[in-house]
Structure formats: structure tokens, C-alpha cells
Amino acid sequence: MSATSPDKIVIPGKHSDWRRVLSPTGNTGDAIFRGLMFLVGLLMVSVVIAMVIALASDSMMSIRQFGFGFLKSRHWNPIKGEFGALPFIYGTIVSSLIALLISVPFSLGIAVFLVEQAPHYVARPIGFLVELLAAIPSVVYGVWGIFVLAPFLRVYIEPPIATVLGWLPLFQGTITGIGLLTGGIILAIMITPIISAVVRDVLAAVPGSQREAALALGATKWEMIRVVLVNGAPGIAGAVILGLGRALGETMAVTMVIGNRPEISLSLFAPSYTIASAIANEFTEATTDLYLSALVELGLILFLVTFVVNGIARVLVWNVTRKTGGVGRAA
């Protein structure tokens, strides 16, 4: 024993060099992999930071010229050099909210049906078809919106709504089938596959023992599903955030049916405009520097709106998670 001096003892994988620093086991492969993944992670963070810096610096001209007035002004007149973002912010948020209002109940229904009710041979094809909706390019949704959805809403849906609820300012004005409501409905269809797919996975992750326990206590199927939903609440909230993110940033489909009018009208039948559509529409012919700068500032605002909405949603999810300790995490 004593014949062996300490420096001759070879511990497998013991290295005092960079491999040690990067990997606790000193394994070369692990070290390389870890370094690589760190770089990839860093790359994403730096892309986000670079984008914010680029947006901010390119919109400096507009920020200097209009200051906070940009956020409050309702006037958007490129010819006269007047730029205000409020109608775009309003259109973006309201169309996304309409989308959530319609989509969330549907998505929950689809997910509950697929996980709790449907037999396997039905659940698989339906689940597949719903996910297929997410793969359709948004411009296709837009064309479908113009040629099918908008005429359908104009003829069969909006007139009855106007007759019954026309006393509300929300449902007044000329019915053209093009407007905020149609934009919201298109968005709802587009985000439903995303929300329902995530919710389905969340519900499937709720342990079977929870269901068995509920049933053993004499719960009906409906009561059992409520237990499952409460357990999955944080995950469901995460799914809704994902859908909201998609709705806020959607461009092509919305611009084709929303009417593209930078005006704030209480009526959901009236044309409106979203930030993403405005940028896509006006960028090509933005000839003056101030105009271009105002459009970039719109991009910066969209970035911030998404950031704030996500932040609020995450705080909500975090609160719910602490209270229920349910499964599923915010995506």
C-alpha cells in the first residue's frame, strides 16, 4: 500500500483543467456538450437583446419627435407626418382578447373530450386533425377569411347579433363582414390547436390516481373532470399564454379580414388595425425616415406589449401554482 505514492493514483476522469470546470465528472464529452449548450443558450439571449437594441435605436427619431404622445395619439397620417400608436395597440389587444374568449372554452372542451371521454380510435384522428390546423399557413387562413368566413358572418351571424344585441354599442354600424370581430374569430381558429394540444398534454399528465380517488369518493364524471382541471390549472394557464402570444403577433390572416383602419370604434363590426398588420402593410412604401422610424417604434411597442402580457400571465400562473400545487408547468 505505502509503495504507491499519491500522485500515481489515477482517479478515472480526474482532470484539473477546463473539463473539470465545465463538468463535475470531468468527462470530456460532457464538458464539450455543456459548453456547446451554454453557447446556444447565450446565442438566444443575445439575439433578443440585439433585437431590442436595434428596435430602440432605429425608432429613436420617432421617440424624440413624439415622446409619450405616440402612445396616446389616435392620428396616423403618413402624408402629414402624424403618427400615433393607440388605434393599433387597441386593435391588437381587443382582437387577441376576442380570440381568447372564443378559443379557450373550445380548446378546453376539445382537450377534455380527447383525454377523458373519447375512445382511443376516435381520440387519435381528432387530435391529429386539430393539430393539423396549426400547420396551415396563415395566409391561407386569410384568403379563407375573405372568401368564406367574412361573407358567412355578414349574411348569417352578424345580422342576427345586430337585431338582438344592437342596443349595445358593441354591435352597431354597417355590417360588412370585415372588422374587429372577424379578425378575432380568425385568430380564435388559429390559436385553438395550440391551446388544445398543450391542454391535452397537461390533462394527460394528471395522475390517474387523482381520477380514481375522485370516483372512489362517489364523484360523478363531471365532478371528476373538475378535479382534473383544477389540478391542471397552471398548465392550462400556460397554454393560454402560448395562444395569446400567437394571437398578438399574427399578421397575414388578420390583416386580410380586419379592415386595416387605424381608428378606435366601440363596435366590433367596425374595421380596425393591429400592430403587426400595420408594420407588414406599410413597411414597403415607408419612404420618409420618420415614417420608417414610427413603424419600428410600433414594433418595439408590440415587443413590450407581448413582454408585459407574458409577465402578467406568468405571475398569475405562479400564484395559482403555489395555491394548488398542481401538475403541469407554464409553457
Partner: protein
């Protein structure tokens, strides 16, 4: 864990790393290599894009050593990029403004290539005859002052048409476009109120109406919504067989938009065309002139930096305003009148590189 497994992992991670490096390294290389084919790049207006793509492919057949790349990113992008000198030529529907020309690093020439027109289309199921509009009526509809189809002002130009008592739904382009610029330029000329309240430009602040994205968006909304009125490019209206309105010109006659009535507008205004060829030919005089017409331009520096590329570009444009014109009609663009071709020739002749004429 076997040595084999470990080395496999190392190889895999190295491969991933190399792939990442490659994706970073494969950024576009600088253009303008002296050896090999001559590369010309241009960007700008979407309206003449089908014609320019045709020109590029036809010219490529004749001159295999010249490769031309045209990207239709919009007139705004065309003006911006030629000013920044990131392209060899720009393209714009509307002529550049004085302040844009001043802030450019060199003298820019406007070479007209073809002409287009903006036509009024509508959706009225009960109306079988072709509608006719006076200029003031178009302006009042787009100002929101004429609200119903059976307004006496519309009826005055269309005796016998069964105009419904319904609201007019106005459709305009949602995105900035040369089509809107031409249309609003026309409205500004014929209506002082329009000029004061709205003005002319690619994306004006429309007093009324809903916005459709692109010619196809406007067409889609006009086709699918009863009682609408909209405006689209002539070529688009003809290809899609849209109902097209006659417009009263400055001589008082109602003219149907067509390739010939558009060329007539350019010919009628040729005498008034300024030296730099920057001109708006909306509301041109003449009995058979369609009044909502416009040139589209290619923008090129008078002093070319590279003699080889400059010569190739001038030769291409020379071909475009001569032989290239024969491709215009099948694609529903109006050809340049002879006077304007002569004056464009003089412009191309004046282009130099290091003081030497290129043509």
C-alpha cells in the same frame, strides 16, 4: 461506458458545433466579382414586377454573361436602397421627391419603362350597365360625402341604372402602394377638398372605408361584399374580369380604361413633361385619355462607379425601352409613347463612368 460510445458522442457534438459554425460562416458574400458573369441587382416597385421578371429572363437568353436580379419590395424600398447604393438600380412608381433627390449621394436619373392605370371597380348586383363616374363623384365617395348608391350625383351620370338605396362600402389598399399614390394624386388634382384634407401619397389617411391587402385583397372584398366600390390596377382588373367604371376626363368624355387610353394619356402630356421626366400624368388633357394613369420608373445614377456593370445596365435599359416594350402589352402594361422613348434615350446616353460615356 465503452470508449466507442464516448468517441461517438464527441464526434456527434463536434459535428453539431461544426454545423453551427457553418451556418454562421455562410453569410452572403460581397457582390460585384470581376470574373465570371456580370451581376446586376435592383429592387423596388411591385407593380412592374411581372414585366421586369420577363425582361430579366428574356434579356438573359440574349446575353448569357449578364445576370440580373430584381426584387419587388415596394417603391419605398427601391428609393431607399438606391440612395444607400446597396443596389445597382431602383424602381419606383411615383417619381422621387426633390428632397430625396437632394439627399442622394449622386445625381439620379428617372428612366420611364411602362405605364399603368388605376381603375374603379364595384359590386352592384342589380346594375347591368357599365357605370360612369365624374371625378368629383369619386372624390366625394372616398371623402365619405356621398353615402348612398342612389345619390343624385351618381345617378346624374348613369341614367337608367337601377342604383340601390344602400350604403356604399368604400374599399382601399391597406398597405402603402404605388396604386394608392396614383389614385390619391388624381383625387388631389380634381378635388381641392381632397388635396387639403387627405393629400397624395402611397398610404394616405383614408377618411372612410375598409382596407384590403394588395390588389387581391381589394378585389376579394369588392367581389364578396355587396354595394362596395374599390380601385385596382388595370392589369389586375382585366385578368380577373372585374366590372370596370368609365371615368370622365378633363375633356368631358367618359373613357374606359385600356392600354391604349393609358398610352394616350402619356402622349397627350408629353409636351408638358419636364426635363428630368419626373411627371404625374393623372388628369391629362385629350378626348380619348384615361385620366388615372401613371408612369413607372427605374432609378439609376448618372455617374456609374463600375464601367463594366454600368455599361451592362445601360444596355439592358436601352433594350427595355425598345425591344422590351413588346413584352408589355401581353402583360397588360401600356407602352411608352415615341416621344418619351426618345427622351429616355437621351437620358441613357448621358450616363457615364469616370467621365466616359457608356452608350
Amino acid at each position: 461506458m465503452s470508449v466507442w460510445n464516448r468517441s461517438l458522442r464527441i464526434v456527434t457534438s463536434l459535428a453539431v458545433f461544426v454545423a453551427l459554425l457553418l451556418s454562421v460562416a455562410c453569410s452572403p458574400k460581397g457582390s460585384g466579382t470581376n470574373s465570371g458573369p456580370i451581376q446586376l441587382s435592383g429592387t423596388g416597385a411591385t407593380f412592374p414586377n411581372p414585366l421586369y421578371q420577363k425582361w430579366v429572363s428574356e434579356y438573359g437568353k440574349l446575353h448569357s454573361n449578364i445576370k440580373i436580379d430584381y426584387q419587388s419590395q415596394g417603391s419605398g424600398a427601391g428609393i431607399k436602397q438606391i440612395k444607400e447604393q446597396t443596389v445597382d438600380f431602383g424602381a419606383s412608381d411615383a417619381p422621387m421627391k426633390d428632397e430625396d433627390l437632394k439627399s442622394a449621394p449622386g445625381e439620379l436619373l428617372h428612366i420611364p419603362t411602362v405605364l399603368g392605370a388605376v381603375v374603379i371597380t364595384y359590386n352592384l348586383a342589380a346594375v347591368t350597365q357599365q357605370l360612369q363616374f365624374s371625378p368629383e363623384v369619386i372624390a366625394d365617395i372616398y371623402l365619405g360625402k356621398i353615402k348612398k348608391w342612389n345619390d343624385p350625383k351618381i345617378a346624374a351620370d348613369n341614367s337608367g341604372a337601377k342604383l340601390p338605396a344602400s350604403d356604399i362600402t368604400v374599399v382601399h389598399r391597406s398597405e402603402g402602394s404605388g396604386t394608392s399614390a396614383v389614385f390619391t394624386d388624381y383625387l388631389s388634382k380634381i378635388s381641392p377638398e381632397w388635396k387639403e384634407k387627405v393629400g397624395a401619397g402611397p398610404s394616405p389617411s383614408w377618411p372612410v372605408g375598409i382596407g384590403g391587402k394588395g390588389n387581391e385583397g381589394v378585389t376579394g372584398q369588392v367581389k364578396n361584399t355587396p354595394n362596395t366600390i374599390g380601385y385596382v390596377e388595370l392589369a389586375y382588373a382585366v385578368q380577373n374580369k372585374l366590372p370596370v367604371a368609365l371615368v370622365k376626363n378633363s375633356s368631358g368624355s367618359f373613357v374606359e380604361p385600356s392600354i391604349d387610353s393609358v398610352t394616350a394619356a402619356a402622349a397627350a402630356d408629353a409636351g408638358n413633361t419636364p426635363d428630368d421626366l419626373r411627371v404625374s400624368i393623372t388628369n391629362a388633357p385629350g378626348a380619348n385619355v384615361y385620366p388615372i394613369s401613371s408612369y413607372t420608373y427605374i432609378l439609376i445614377y448618372k455617374n456609374q462607379k463600375d464601367a463594366t456593370k454600368g455599361k451592362a445596365l445601360v444596355d439592358f435599359l436601352w433594350w427595355g425601352i425598345h425591344d422590351g416594350q413588346s413584352f408589355a402589352k401581353p402583360l397588360l402594361y401600356a407602352t411608352l409613347p415615341a416621344d418619351i422613348v426618345k427622351r429616355a434615350e437621351a437620358k441613357l446616353d448621358s450616363i457615364t463612368a469616370a467621365g466616359v460615356k457608356l452608350h
